[in-house]
Amino acid sequence: MKSNETGQDQNIEPEKTYSRRTILKSAGIGSLGVIIGASGLGGVISARESASNSAKANKNTIPFYGKHQAGIATTKPALLYFASFDVKTESRAELIEMLKDWTKAAAAMASGEMIGGTQNSVYLPPEDTGEAAALDTANLTLTFGVGPTLFKKNGKNRFGIAHKLPQELKKLPAFSLDALDKDWCDGDLCVQVCSDDAQVNFHAIRNLVRIARGKAILKWSQEGFQGKNNPHTKNETPRNLFGFKDETVNLSPEKKMDFDKHVWVQSGDGPNWLTGGSYLVVRRIQMHIEVWDRTALGEQEKTFGRHRITGAPLGKEKEFSDLGLDRKDEAGNFVIPVNAHARQAHGKGDQPLYRRSFSYSSGMAANTGTLDAGLFFMCFQRFPSKQFIPVQKRLGQSDKLNEYITHRGSAIFACLPGIRKGGWIGETLFS
């Protein structure tokens, strides 16, 4: 976009497009006169401006519109930014307007475009905050969901949709050992933003928050990551922060039949507005890293029921080998201990979940000085009552891993069906 740099006088007044204050904030007051007069300033700014106008290298895009929302069956990229919102407005029309604005913005961002196109009025703040301009789209997906409190809160039918609340969309029951902090729980709306670029993720959340301002507020949010080297070509099971492979046994989006059976809500399951959607359960699970790190390898492996390096079930060599839960050692004990995580999670094998978790690290826990890190567990399913809930009940009671983890956050959302072109997020729910 060289032409822009030379032709800037017509369209762009650099000193106005970018607030001089912003630029000068970092400079000392004494040098102000010098800076303003300096001829280099305009050049610096116009170079930035032309970058944001340039066609974006949006190679890695995942379609926003479709039968199902992106971000569920699509490949899990490196980074997550999850946000839960509370709706503040009491007006159904305002909420719908916000969802429509979100749709427009999300569709633009997912295709690597600027929100609102390239609007450049010198009198107004730019519609797009701009930090993702010219960045690769990085497989960005935005997945929207609604929580039970959107339908009814404190007995109030907030937006005239109380009768549309699915039976499966209920606040999760209390599980043994839960130590939930309300600052990490629930929400009226959620958005799961995933991509391979932290700045692309931040840009997405930031703009949604901005669009929502006055109508919905950010209730809580969490960033996450996973350590796949090359997430889009090498399909290797990621490791959690305890160093173990996590999600070895998982439903695969490649098996459409499984997804129809266990992940996508089917017509007739409940209110039809959710057909093609899915229930998302989110748990913020703190891992007591320091405690784990002084646990002997044998004990660690018994805790998971798997070998650390290979991920193979104890006593086996290959990661994807059958767990062989009946196997006993010479002393007559199960090779995979009774309370091992793999055994307890597996149960009878009839509660399959589609997990799509990320690790998180949020600096230091202020009260203890330990690392605040863990697993941001997410799973999608067709029936929480038959899938996540019984599994977690069992884990809460019998999982040896409980010695090393604490569940701090919890939420359930109904992830809306896919959005048709020209449609909007929540259209089936509000029409």
């Binding site: 400079a27 007069g37 009198y123 107004l124 703040p125 901005r210």
Partner: protein, 284 residues
């Protein structure tokens, strides 16, 4: 420091006031005139707005001088209690007219710098005296600063007539007032010794509202919904501030609970976002 710097984005001053009239400034003035000629609001209407705003600001600064004089007199008389009472209400006039008041890069820091904003030996003005009154609970060490402050506000008032304001400056100024609130006042950093931040807070909102009032008829014509949203959010913010009233004034900032501060902070941001759109009034 950021307050001092703000001037450059807000005002084009007459040459004698600041750095001297550079060519760059000259160019800016010309292009501004050109823009205004093409913009949505007629030049006449812009002039009217600017005149009205000038009257408002000058009136506020008149009161500021008067109340500052009473304040500094109390300090010099060693009447700590009286000075403490006069401190926050006097400052409100300054905070209301901040887009103009702080445009004097030489005077603003003298009057309103907070501790650490300027080198220690140069620190004078309201906050310096605030520290004496509230931390030392005495006027003894700050009487000279009171003399200086009184002088500085008088100079400010005498210079204010010369400020050249344009309509787009006011557009920026309205949001800047709220930005001040959301960056420093909301954290209780402004009046860190007296904890009278809510007075400054309210005054900044008043100042923004005054500017919005001037643009409202044009904004309404262009985007009725936007004007309504802004009105609604001003009401919401004032409603929340009302909860913290205490007699004629406001409670100490230290009395606010964490979630109350968060609530106020959100309300400011919720207002500032649509307010940042009032520039449409100037568009062709």
């Amino acid at each position: 420091m950021n307050k001092n710097i703000k001037i450059l984005s807000i005002l084009t001053l007459t040459g004698t006031l600041l750095f001297g009239c550079t060519q760059e400034n000259e160019k800016n003035n010309q292009s501004k005139e050109k823009e205004e000629a093409q913009s949505g609001m007629s030049a006449k209407e812009q002039k009217r707005i600017v005149t009205e705003y000038r009257e408002y600001a000058i009136n506020e600064l008149d009161q500021f001088v008067e109340k500052t004089t009473a304040f500094t007199d109390a300090v010099k008389a060693g009447d700590v209690e009286k000075a403490k009472k006069l401190y926050a209400p006097a400052r409100m006039h300054y905070e209301r007219s901040e887009p103009i008041a702080e445009s004097f890069a030489d005077l603003d820091p003298k009057i309103d710098a907070r501790e650490g904003d300027v080198p220690k030996e140069d620190w004078t003005g309201y906050h310096r005296i605030e520290k004496g009154l509230w931390v030392d609970n005495s006027a003894d060490g700050v009487k000279d600063y009171a003399d200086q402050l009184k002088k500085d506000v008088h100079v400010l008032r005498s210079k204010v007539e010369t400020v050249d304001i344009t309509a787009d400056v006011l557009v920026t100024g309205a949001v800047d007032l709220l930005n001040e609130v959301s960056t420093s006042k909301i954290t209780g950093e402004e009046d860190r010794y007296s904890h009278t931040d809510l007075y400054d807070f309210v005054a900044n909102v008043d100042g923004a509202k005054e500017i919005f009032k001037l643009f409202k008829p044009t904004v309404e014509k262009k985007d009725e919904k936007l004007a309504k949203t802004i009105d609604k959010r001003f009401d919401n913010l004032y409603g929340l501030l009302e909860k913290h009233k205490d007699g004629d004034g406001y409670v100490s900032y230290t009395k606010l609970k964490k979630d109350e501060v968060q609530e106020l902070s959100r309300a400011v941001n919720e207002l500032a976002e649509p307010l940042s759109q009032i520039g449409i009034a100037l568009e062709g």
